[in-house]
Structure formats: C-alpha cells, structure tokens
C-alpha cells in the first residue's frame, strides 16, 4: 500500500430476520459498521464512546444513497492512489531512437538489440515507412530509417541510442 494502511479486521455478524452487520474498530478506537438489510437498505452505524455496545449514531441509507457514499469513500481513495502512482510515473519518459542506414542492426531483428535486457528501456512501437507497429515482438525486422518508440528512464533511452548507433 502507498500510505502504510494495515489490513482492517472486519467482523461479520448475522442478524436473523434483518440481515448482516459488518463492523471494525478504527485506529482511533471507534467502532464503525454497516448494517445491510435484506431489503437492500443500509444503516451506517457508529458506536458510542462511553457504551461500546450501543450505536450513538445511526444513518439509514437507501440503495442509491449507499452507492453514492461508497463511491465517495472509494473514489477518494482511488484518486489518492492514482496521485502516488503518477509520482512514480514521473521518472519515466518516452523517447524516439532512430536506426541509421548502415547501422549494425539494419536488417536484423528487434530481438537482436536485446534492448530491454541491456538498458531496461522498453520498445513500445516501431515506426517503419511512416507506419507504427505497436507492441513489436523480438522477431520484428529493423531497417535503416526506422524509428523506435521507447519508454524508460532518460538514461536507459540514452544507452539504447548509443547501442543502435554502433
């Protein structure tokens, strides 16, 4: 996890004739839960501080209200996760590497460059005669004038450029 969450220990309790209750104790020591009724309604329940057996707050929600609340709680978390993911992505760049006519790899296959093994950069497309071949396999033929579209760190792309220039 990105923000050091630990696994939440959720307790499930059957409520015969009514439905199910799921609850857990938060880091701050408050017990919160949701009662799922057979009718589809949900009760958001917060347990009391002085009497841990009783709910001090009960909010009844119909199906779409429960969905809205879940989406709000859920998507906030997703946005946070995406933000931290894009921080990691920030170190990645895309670049173009041209294969010169008469290069060592003119007429060989993409596999022969062993680009990912040697540099860590990934070739995501080969532009051949103005046409992009997406996700090329190792058997893709390279010719002088082709352009490799590469994703990786700036250093890795630079290293690949050196290799094909040999």
């Amino acid at each position: 996890m990105f923000d050091g969450d630990s696994e939440v220990e959720v307790t499930e309790t059957k409520l015969p004739g009514i439905g199910l209750r799921h609850d857990f104790v938060t880091e701050d020591g408050r017990r919160v839960g949701v009662v799922s009724r057979k009718s589809g309604r949900r009760d958001l329940v917060v347990f009391g501080k002085d009497d841990p057996d009783a709910c001090s707050l009960v909010v009844g929600l119909n199906g779409s209200e429960a969905d809205a609340l879940a989406e709000f709680l859920g998507s906030r978390r997703i946005v946070e996760r995406l933000a931290s993911l894009s921080e990691q992505v920030a170190n990645l760049v895309t670049g173009k590497v041209r294969i010169a006519h008469g290069s060592r790899y003119d007429g060989l296959t993409l596999g022969a460059t062993r680009a990912r093994t040697r540099t860590g950069a990934s070739v995501v497309a080969v532009i051949h005669a103005g046409q992009a071949i997406a996700s090329p396999g190792p058997e893709a033929a390279l010719q002088g004038g082709d352009v490799l579209v590469v994703v990786g760190t700036a250093e890795a792309i630079e290293a690949l450029r050196d290799i094909v220039a040999e």
């Binding site: 307790t11 009514i18 057996d53």
Partner: protein, 410 residues
Amino acid sequence: MSDAITLMELGGIVLLLGLLGRFAGRIGLSPIPLYLLAGVLVGHGGVLPLGASEEFISVGAEIGVILLLLLLGLEYTAAELVTNLRQQAPAGLVNIVLNAAPGVAVGLIMGWPAAGVVAMAGITCVSSSGITAKLLTDLGRVGNRETPVVLSLLVLEDLSMAVYLPVLTAMLAGVGVLAGVLSVGIALVAVAAAMLVALRLSRPLGRLVFSENSEVLLLIVFGLALLVAGLAQQAQISEAVGAFLVGIALSGRVATSAEQVLTPLRDFFAAVFFVFFGMRIEPADIPPMLLPALALVVVTTVTKVAAGALAARRAGIALPGQIRAGTVMVSRGEFSIVIAGLATGSAIVAPGLGPLAATYVLLMAVGGPLLARAGEPAGRWAVALAARLGRRGPMSGPAVAEGAGESPLP
C-alpha cells in the same frame, strides 16, 4: 340486500382498523391492542355487534394465522435457525423455561385442564417478534452489539413454536395419548423434512416456485402455504405449523421476493384475525381478569428482562446493553394471540382463558414498547448505581471482547 350489508359492515370495520392503525402510529404504539379492542367492541355483547360479515371474518382470521406463520418462516433461513440453535441453545432454554413458568402457574391456579395450562405457558412465553423488530429499528438499535442476542432468542422462540404448536393442537383436540404422540411425531418429521429441504434442495425448489412476475409469485407461494396448512390440519398438526414450515423451506431470492409481495396481505388478514379474536370475548369478562393479568404482566416482565439480560451477559455485553436486551423483548403480541385463538377455538373448557390472554396482551403490547424505551436511561441509571455502590452489580458480566455469533472475517 344481505350482500350490501356484508360489504358495509366489512368496509366499516376495515376503515376503523385503518384509522386505529394511523392513531397507533402517531402515538408510537403497536396497533395490535387497538385491533383487539375494536374486535371486542363489534363482537358479541359489544356496543356494535356485527352480523352478516362474521363468516368472512372467521375465514379471514384463519388465513391471518397462516400468513403470520408463513412470513415468520420466510424471515429466517434454515441455516440461521441451525446456527442459532447451536450457539444460543442454553440461553434460549432459560428464556423459555423462565417465561413459560408464570403461565403454567396461572393455569394451575385457575384449575384449567392440562391443555389450557400448556396454552397459557405459550401465551406468556413467546415475545412479539413483530413489535420487537420494529422497536429495534425505531430506537436505532439494529447495529447494537446486544441486538444479535435478542434476535437469536426470538428465533429460538419461533423455532420452538414448530414443536409446541403440534403438541398444543393434539392436546386441545383431546386425542388419546397414542394419537397425540403420533401427531407430534408426524410434526417433528415434517419439521426435519422442511429443514432438510431448505438446507439441501433450496435451489431446485426456488427455481420451481420463483417467478419474476410478482402476481404469479404471490399466487404460487400463497396457494402452496394454504394447501400445506390444510394438509397439516388434516394430519392434526395445526395449520400454523404447516405454513411456518413452507416459509422455512423457501429461502434465498424466493423468500425475499415472496416476503415483499405477501406482507400487505399478511397485514390485512392479521388485522382481521386480531378483530376476530376480540369479537369472541365478552366485554363483561374483561374487568374480573384485570388483576390477574396485571400480576402476570409484572411477573413475566421480570422473567423476560432477566432472560434477555442473562443471554446478553453470556455474550459479553456490558450492563447497559444487558438491560436494553432484556427490556426490548418484553412485548407479547401476535403469537400469544395465535395460541390463545387456538385454545379458545377448541372444545376444551378453560374459563377465562380468552379474556385473560386478551387483557394480558393488551397490557403487554402497550407497556412493552414503553419499557423498551425506558431501557436506555435504566441502563445508565444501573451503571451509576453500580458505581455508587462501589462494586459490580449482580448482573454486570465480564467484559468479553467478542459477542457470541460474531465471527472475524479473514
């Protein structure tokens, strides 16, 4: 001409019930006692005796009992019944013994035959799951940690009805010991069969019964329940048990949908049943029963609170929760009247049973919800008192972390 009178009588009484229901809702009461009173008023010896519509009301009352029990069975799945039986059997047994005993005592004092004594035991024993479930929602206690305990006790009471009703029916019919044992045996086999069907064959049965069309579903489930109820009555094991078993055997999607379509029908016919029960009570018989009923109310309130509190304590609930659990289930209602209805409709002679049961339920259905509301401040008061005494009260249990019936998810 008599058709017109029947319609007018019926319309008048149903309209009256509607107005009474609205009034009950406004003052936060269960409508059951008002329906009973309405029945007493329009019954024999009442202020406005009905004539023409009595036949319809009598058949309607029988359907009301069947629907009450059918929906009770639909509410629970067989798996829930089995788990509850395993986990809460001791507490459930304590509850039943404590609350049947006052009824037995009254029956013996009144000198009723054995069947009357057994009927009275059931009347004082079984809580109103309708009133209790509504109270739990109204008071915002559905999520509380003592609530599963309360619900478990209710489930066990209801499950014990499946055994109790055939026994009572056999005794009320006055059959010999051998025939009685036989019909009880049939009932137990039927209970086991219904549980087995629910546990093993719920999918194929569900496919057979289920329909997306609510009209079709209503007709199929209602028809099935009436048919099985009739067969059960034929086999001397009480139509109520038959309907209850149909409810248990159906589970999953069928049960949820059937519950939805049948609830309005149940509400109507159950109201008719309460009126019918009230109609058979002479108003003049009620005043002499006030004092015994009041004594019974006091005793069975204490026993019910004790049973609920003990069960909650066993599940590791603290003192305030124990008091809430005990007080919320004090109300007696629909099933006490179902039992009393069976007894008064039979041939046995138990003078005063009907009026006593009616007065008792009137008081309990009115007083129970009030007491349940008082449970919250009473719990706080008990804690304060226990603190002032400087020692733990007799009912304060150990603060165990997890209640019974709770299982941690992986």
